[in-house]
């Protein structure tokens, strides 16, 4: 009987040992892995943020081309389609990185870059006398895809802000079909289009609200643009300020996927 009990105890020990080892592994592996990858991620995220800060300065000073179209049918939000593309390509030397911040827990790098130029030829080929004014932009980057949500929302808000600035400074085209009943208007289909370049747009403020949506406030001092170009620009006395918005998720796409699965 005693031998039998000892034999039983020996058989159960491997199971106990495996269970203990598994519990320890579950607790330790995440800690070890995080610590092991932090160095490489920090370098990658910081480098990416620097590049994005340089891009932001190019967009601000040299300028960018903005092409956008939005369309809605019967004023139903789920039918709303919007697409904005931006493009720029330039080389600016003398960019300084004033501040580099890295959040190790979230793996997010924040870089503030600035540059001061005497003059530059902008995206439209116009010579601009910048008088060594300091331009400053901020950019974020991450090497961890799960942390990218707020940063993508911020970029979406930036692009939305550029588009709105173009609409407010240059204008846009509108095409629509409208039904009239007893002189009451009902919009059936509305489409807007924008295609223009914009430069000297400056960042005023940015952030995220409680729900995680990002906002970016940009402004364009039209008087400055006139002085820099050396020619009068329409709306000279104005400072045009806009606010762009960006979200982390597409509610309507998710709803459509849900409907599709249900069928």
């Amino acid at each position: 009987m005693r031998k039998w009990l000892i034999q039983m105890e020996r058989m159960e020990n491997p199971v106990k040992r495996i269970s203990k080892a598994l519990a320890v592994a579950v607790l330790l592996v995440p800690l070890l892995c995080t610590h092991g990858w932090a160095g490489n991620k920090k370098i990658m995220s910081t480098r990416a943020a620097k590049v994005l800060a340089e891009r932001a300065l190019v967009e601000s000073i040299y300028g960018l081309k903005v092409r956008s179209a939005e369309e809605v049918i019967d004023m139903i939000p789920s039918s709303f389609v919007e697409k904005t593309e931006t493009k720029t390509s330039a080389r600016i030397s003398g960019i300084k990185f004033e501040e580099i911040v890295y959040d190790e827990q979230k793996d997010i790098a924040k870089v503030t870059a600035s540059v001061s130029l005497d003059s530059i030829t902008n995206i439209d080929g116009q010579q601009m006398d910048l008088k060594n004014k300091v331009y400053r932009r901020v950019a974020f980057a991450t090497s961890t895809p799960s942390q990218a949500g707020p940063l993508k929302a911020l970029r979406a808000a930036e692009i939305d802000a550029y588009k709105q600035l173009v609409k407010r400074v240059v204008g846009f085209t509108l095409e629509s079909q409208t039904t009239v009943e007893n002189f009451i208007l009902k919009s059936d289909a509305v489409k807007t289009k924008v295609l223009a370049t914009i430069y000297l747009a400056e960042l005023k403020d940015f952030g995220w609200d409680d729900s995680g949506n990002a906002f970016v406030k940009m402004y364009l001092n039209v008087k400055d643009v006139s002085e820099v170009l050396g020619e009068k620009v329409a709306g000279e006395d104005e400072i045009v300020e806009v606010e762009g918005a960006g979200a982390q998720a597409d509610d309507f796409q998710q709803a459509k996927k849900g409907k599709g699965k249900g069928r």
Binding site: E12, P77, G171, L174, S176, E181
Partner: protein
């Protein structure tokens, strides 16, 4: 002894379950774009109505199609309509309709055309 091993396995299972469930429930889902899209749709509706109201010969009932250039002003936009198409609605007559008897159709070919002949 068998009970102790079962208890050990249950304990490990509980640890794993609690670890995974804490990850699932603690992460808050980010907000989507619903509100932003609804606001934008509202803006587009108002812009369109503002543009259409500038059409001079707007019918009481019908359909209006326009293409316009929005010109920024200090506050808002003015619209320069460069293409428009107005389709007034066909008016509806309110009359009594009687069934029975002959009702002559209007002959599109004219009075002496073949389709106007009656069968004897």
């Amino acid at each position: 002894m068998a009970r102790r091993s079962k208890t050990g396995i249950k304990a490990v299972f509980c640890i794993l379950c609690s670890a995974f469930s804490s990850v699932l429930f603690c992460s808050a889902a980010p907000a989507g774009n619903r509100e932003l899209v609804e606001d934008r749709v509202q803006e587009l509706d108002e812009l369109n109505k503002q543009a259409v109201r500038q059409v001079p010969d707007m019918p009481k009932d019908g359909r209006i199609e326009i293409k316009a250039k929005a010109i920024p002003q200090k506050e808002g936009f003015t619209f320069e309509i460069y293409e428009k198409k107005i389709t007034p609605a066909t008016p509806v007559k309110e009359e009594t309709i009687n069934f029975g008897g002959n009702e002559k159709m209007v002959d599109p070919n004219g009075e002496n055309g073949e389709s106007g002949k009656e069968n004897k």
